[in-house]
Symmetry: C2
Subunit: 97 residues, 2 copies
């Protein structure tokens, strides 16, 4: 467990940053959908991105309820990113699974 | 804040389940990549899914360190799902952004 303990401790002050990485990491996927690879939009799962959006929305509400920015900042941004994916898929492909 | 309070309270006992929804929601995206829409794999961002995997791995370690299954169960499963996306993209498209 010593590696886990060392990494776990090191992550403690980085929680807010860690919550922002996944939303920001969605940008290249959004770029491919909207600009560079629009013809491949059908390969994206509407189900997946709708559920990602829904869960991020619930976590955002949960974080606001607990007044915990570590939870709501990253999830709020995530919600916007995943919603952008949902909108892009619907515009390009319509309803798909 | 009353809607937020009501939803926030209702979510409290559902945290472990909520952590499992996003990983499981990745299954249709994996299915499209591996089976039904393999020709559209180039539309998936390797950067995005590598970073999702990396962050899920860090959260898994963090959850194990705190012996908190609410954190590590969902993120552990998420790590495997996102890694499956990474592997599928590399096999189908090779290195892409």
């Amino acid at each position: 467990m010593s590696v886990i303990e060392r990494i776990g401790k090191a992550l403690e002050p980085l929680m807010l940053v860690m919550g922002l990485v996944s939303p920001i990491a969605t940008l290249p996927q959004i770029y491919k959908l909207y600009f560079s690879h629009t013809e491949h939009a059908a390969g994206l799962s509407l189900t997946t991105w709708v559920l990602y959006s829904f869960i991020a929305m619930l976590w955002t509400i949960y974080g606001l309820y607990h007044k915990n920015p570590t939870i709501w900042v990253g999830n709020g941004l995530g919600f916007l990113m995943y919603l952008a994916m949902v909108a892009g898929i619907i515009v390009r492909v319509g309803i798909t699974f």
